[in-house]
């Protein structure tokens, strides 16, 4: 019987739960809009109901290796407490792992949602041919995940992999994280809307001003549509998105020299509008990047650093969350170092 795992992607918009086999096939899935659930307790209860249904339906299909849960926000992996989550208001200091485990009566592996998405792309998507990669997830903000030699790099307290909060312009706009000029303030959807409003208010962008005034729900998608239609101020905003991503990625290449950078999340749909500026900045700002793409005369072909679009769309997080218990030994090793309790052994059910 094949190995199976349950992957959960708890987002501010959707709660997705799926049963995934060891080859990356989704055997069954359940989705619920998160906002239809009023409290953190209701979300956890719905999640556990979905998990129980899936495991019950798949009793005879394989061996359950475990349950992985991706959650947005700052998680203390030692205690399993969600300390803060901009996308899950009301979850401040919520002991999410304990609550799930209490309801299910079994251990779960908790992970930051962007880390889970990185693991998904690494397993089945854009990173599948590499041993190390960095992912940047363009959503409301900018998240990320780092995989080094096959394993998620979580750092000392599980908080590693936050490229969205690298400083790009030290005197730039304030960020909710307490810093100013973070990458997120130039490349996230909220930042795109802010830059559009600023351009409109300054009288520099008549088409954007018109769009803002005619819509009560002006979003980064509207800016993208105008950029596609050739509106220069809108194109300029995506130039800023690309250049700020390029500045941060150049720094990451000079620091980590990993072979693969994957750009995912909803905002990556605007790839054509911003990606040329990523490559321009990275080529100029990273001698390590240049050295990997240009072979010295008479020497072997180099292994070029790649920067590419994610491939799994919104399923990256579920795949990655399901992958974590499959890599149980490695996850156990990480967990042990982070002081977590021992994971339960794989269960046949």
């Amino acid at each position: 019987m094949p190995d199976l795992a349950i992957g959960v992607d708890l987002g501010g918009t959707n709660l997705r739960v799926a049963a995934v086999d060891e080859h990356g096939n989704i055997l069954d899935r359940r989705n619920t809009p998160t906002k239809s659930l009023r409290s953190s307790e209701a979300v956890v209860a719905a999640m556990c109901d979905h998990i129980a249904q899936l495991t019950s339906n798949l009793k005879t299909s394989g061996i359950l290796r475990g349950i992985g849960v991706g959650i947005p926000g700052i998680i203390d992996l030692q205690t399993g407490v969600l300390r803060e989550s901009p996308n899950l208001p009301g979850w401040h200091d919520y002991p999410v792992r304990e609550e799930i485990e209490r309801r299910l009566g079994t251990r779960v592996i908790l992970e930051n949602d962007a880390n889970a998405a990185a693991m998904g792309e690494f397993w089945l998507g854009a990173g599948r041919d590499h041993d190390s990669m960095c992912m940047l997830t363009l959503g409301t903000g900018v998240g990320g995940g780092i995989i080094l030699q096959g394993a998620l790099w979580r750092g000392m307290t599980g908080m590693a992999g936050e490229p969205g909060h690298m400083t790009v312009y030290p005197d730039g706009p304030p960020c909710p994280c307490g810093n100013q000029g973070c990458l997120e303030q130039f490349a996230g959807a909220t930042a795109i809307v802010r830059m559009a409003r600023e351009a409109a208010a300054a009288g520099r962008a008549p088409a954007l001003a018109k769009a803002i005034n005619s819509s009560s729900q002006f979003t980064s998608k509207d800016v993208y549509d105008l950029a596609l239609a050739g509106d220069e101020p809108s194109r300029g905003i995506f130039e800023i998105v690309g250049r700020s991503l390029g500045i941060a990625i150049a720094g990451m290449i000079n620091l980590l020299n990993v072979p693969m950078f994957v750009i995912g999340g909803g905002g990556s749909g605007a790839w054509n509008a911003f990606s040329p500026y990523i490559f321009e900045e990275v080529s100029r700002r990273s001698f390590v990047y240049r050295a990997t793409v240009q072979a010295p005369a008479g020497q072997e072909t180099p292994q070029p650093t790649q920067i590419a679009l994610a491939q799994l769309g919104s399923d990256a997080g579920i795949f990655g969350a399901a992958r974590l218990p499959m890599l149980a030994e490695e996850v156990y090793e990480h967990s042990r170092q982070a002081g977590e309790p021992t994971l339960a052994a794989p269960t046949q059910f």
Copy 2:
């Protein structure tokens, strides 16, 4: 008999060679001013003479695990070619490993000098109680090294660990690496002299102007002496050193969440003048840093991220270079991944 290794630190100023035992004791050493040697061939010949003398003298003292050589500049670890080195003019595309191995008739482990220094501090210095750390070396420029779970992180082509070329101010001064606004352009000795000359030329710094005009050898040390004497423009330059280091380190903490940052190199002597600004910037710019130093109410004591001075001075590089062959299995593993030939087995001599 104890394990021994030869560590070589080839700098632009000094060539240092030492025999080090497995406990970190220097058994014997040789130093030669690099500039007394006219060509790359003469430097390699002197290095090999020193190595031969030390190994011959210590024949009966232990088991030689191998020879590690730290070299400044961009090294292609696959081919052992020094591609470029600002501190070793004339070494452009020099096949340094091949030349050393040919003369000695044995394999050597080549490493970037800043990586070797990081390994030294990790083994015996400021990083010895941690499993992961980043080092920043303040010299003419700014170098660095990253150690993750006990091993040097070299990246895909051995060029990882260049925090000196992370962008701090995207529109800042040009850097010889091709970028502009690199950390090195605000925190290296060359940058300190440049900032002092700029302040003097702008008429903002009479004491600096006087020092520049009265000395044909004006250096960053002169700026430091004036800062110590209370000269405000000179103090302001070290404020910039500290803030730019803080911006880069904050980004590294948000990315890697490692427990220890070590500041070394000659420029770290000015620690008291610049370090308060590092802590100020890091506290403000890294929520990951803050989360590691502030425990939430009612929870366990956190493991604070530390930022501290290096402890081994100019010997860090020799210790680290000698450590590499002692970690032979791990080094072998790294080498294999980088496509290097298999290392020779440890030799008794």
